[in-house]
């Protein structure tokens, strides 16, 4: 008897739930498990309170898995996601294929003109904005002020590679587990190749010449890779060839790195006293150069885009507009402080006097503004993109090239061998793609 009552109660509840579900639209959001995204998930009550008829489903994945899933889904037109978290590499390619919904008609309050020009340009194809930037980043030098002081050096605002080496040598203290410099070594187009491609720009190297011929046989690439190896082998942490952004972040937070050249967004993590043991001892400088007029910093924006296969475009737009709005920034600031707002997307944020107090704000803006996707390196190139080449084949090629470079860093082959293999495999893939 008792069981019967509870059963009928359950079915009544089920019917109620079913009717409730019927009235609302569910949007499925694929996103990366980065800190800023996780924070956004925690703050979505604000959105659902404003839009009670929209239900959000999150698919939070690690970066590599996320890329694989969304690329597979959009290429096969699976339509599993209403909002995808993608970067400045994917947006121009997918946008040109008409796979993304144009966001030109987002409401005026969203204020598209407020988006930083460099970022907005990277997300626009033929005048159509195809993704809304959630956070933008460049790369810069993060260093330990206390160790620099101990070494008797002072970091200039715009250091050269020569100075980076000098400082790395001075700070390295392997007996105490302190390594002068931590750089990405883990293979992947978004890992070591993002860093190395940006670095190579400062040495005047390029991926392809104007006729799409791979350039790994050039002297500039040899210089880039030799400089990198020299730094890492002498002053880098052990196992650097498997360190990506996350591993290096963790090392830096543990106080094991003197310098770390990486994404500007890392600044808020390394200065956050709850996670970082060195929070109050971090300084910032522009990425290094070699005196050729280009710096080794990149430009990236994790952005929210809506695939054309979505069956809830309007609702998805509402969400995208909310998550990338000025109001969202204010919401984060109110809840978690200004240092934790998603950086690098809006001019208004950097004009905000409150935000100017954040130690890394100015350096982030300068870094972003100094990257130019249309002229990334010294010589002219047929492609756009600073640390990537905006063609569909790049991800596959660069990951394999990254594996060769990673193997060189691990001491399994020489720089010359790695470059020769990179040249061959890039030529193979480009030929397969029909260049």
């Amino acid at each position: 008897m008792k069981q019967n009552t509870s059963l009928s109660l359950v079915s009544v509840a089920a019917i109620l739930a079913a009717t409730a579900v019927h009235a609302e639209t569910t949007i499925t959001i694929a996103t990366v498990n980065n800190g800023d995204m996780i924070r956004m998930q925690g703050l979505t009550d604000d959105f659902t309170a404003q839009n009670p008829d929209i239900k959000l489903e999150w698919v939070t994945l690690e970066e590599n898995v996320l890329r694989q899933r969304v690329t597979q889904d959009i290429a096969a037109k699976g339509g599993q996601f209403d909002v995808m978290t993608i970067g400045t590499y994917e947006v121009p390619i997918w946008g040109a294929q008409d796979w993304l919904v144009s966001l030109n008609d987002l409401p005026d309050e969203w204020d598209a003109d407020d988006i930083l020009p460099a970022i907005r340009g990277g997300l626009t194809v033929d005048g159509e904005l195809y993704a809304a930037p959630f956070y933008g980043e460049s790369s810069m030098v993060m260093y330990r002020t206390d160790l620099m002081e101990q070494a008797g050096l002072e970091m200039p605002e715009a250091p050269s590679w020569g100075f980076i080496k000098e400082a790395a040598a001075a700070m390295t203290d392997k007996d105490n587990g302190i390594y002068g410099i931590c750089l990405r070594g883990k293979a992947g187009w978004g890992e070591n190749m993002a860093f190395l491609t940006a670095m190579s720009n400062s040495f005047g190297a390029r991926w392809f010449d104007e006729n799409w011929r791979p350039q790994f046989d050039s002297e500039q690439w040899a210089t880039t890779l030799n400089t990198y190896m020299d730094l890492m082998n002498n002053y880098g942490p052990p196992g650097a060839s498997t360190n990506g952004f996350n591993e290096n972040l963790s090392l830096f937070q543990q106080g094991k790195c003197g310098m770390w050249i990486d994404a500007t967004v890392a600044a808020s993590f390394v200065t956050n006293p709850t996670d970082s043991t060195v929070a109050d001892k971090v300084g910032f400088a522009l990425a290094a150069d070699a005196g050729l007029g280009k710096r080794g910093n990149w430009l990236w924006a994790w952005s929210l885009a809506i695939p054309t296969g979505s069956d809830a475009t309007e609702e998805a737009k509402k969400f995208v507009a909310w998550a990338t709005s000025k109001e969202y920034t204010a919401l984060v600031a109110a809840n978690e402080g200004w240092a934790n707002v998603p950086p690098g997307t809006r001019t208004s944020l950097y004009e905000n006097p409150e935000y100017a107090k954040v130690p890394f704000a100015a350096m982030t803006l300068n870094s972003i503004n100094s990257a130019d996707p249309t002229a990334p390196t010294v010589d002219p190139v047929p492609y756009t993109g600073v640390q990537f080449v905006a063609i569909p084949e790049f991800a596959g090629i660069a990951t394999q090239v990254g594996q060769e470079f990673s193997a060189a860093l691990a001491g399994q082959q020489t720089v010359e061998e790695a470059l020769a293999k990179a040249q061959i495999l890039t030529a193979e893939e480009m030929e397969a793609a029909g260049y």
Binding site: Q68, P238, G239, S241, P392, Q400, Q403, A407, I424
Partner: protein
Amino acid sequence: MATQHSRSAARLMMAPAVILLLGWMLVPLTMTLFFSFKKYLPLRGGDLGWVGFDNYIRFVTSSAFWPSVLATLIIVGGVLLITVCFGVLLAILLDQPMWGQGIVRILVIAPFFVMPTVTALVWKNMFMDPVNGLLAHLWKAFGLTPVEWLSQASLVSIVIIVSWQWLPFATLILLTAIQSLDSEQMEAAEMDGAPPLARFGFITLPHLSRAITIVVLIQTIFLLSIFAEIFVTTQGSFGTRTLTYLIYQRVLESQNVGLGSAGGIYAVILANIIALFLMRIVGKNLD
């Protein structure tokens, strides 16, 4: 008459399983064959026409092909060798009288229940990490320089991780086989003064041959397609790119479905060669 009846009944009863598996094999295989003769680049507009055997030629002539076949064979062979050898030793050990046999058995089979992704993550981060990994601490405790497992000994690391996962399975099957060993025969041999090693070589090992064949067969099927362990740890770098992983790179990272499909067909061929080879042995050993 009864046989007649049961023959047709038997066919009827087999039908669902056979039809399902035939469908599961033929439909994707046909589609893969279809794609493999096409230039099919989803990011460049999809189907770009027939290209004959271009994809097949490109796939084998690529500088990555033979190393990947070799890596596959090393990993499969290495894991089989380790799991069978240690499996036999462990099975013999567990068969001995002891206190708490049940608990020990539970401890030993536990790794089999852990999902491959978790296995790979735990080994990669908490054991093989050259700075914070437990093995690094162990090495330092003995005054040695920590090994950079996943880069300097990449294939060995993968073999260790996968072996840890499959050792319980091998041990269990071998243990059941050992337990069925006729103890009178063993005792007789002991009485005759046969030394332990001879007893192992002439009685235990022949008795286990069937079980070993089965372990090899089943594990090979699973090992040929390992993916998560490599995806999580090295992503195919440092010479750990297996054939499966190479296909993954072609299909998903390069988004070249035609080329990847040709690779898939090669993988099917390789698997079938190995299968044929294995089944020769198994077929003999199964009855």
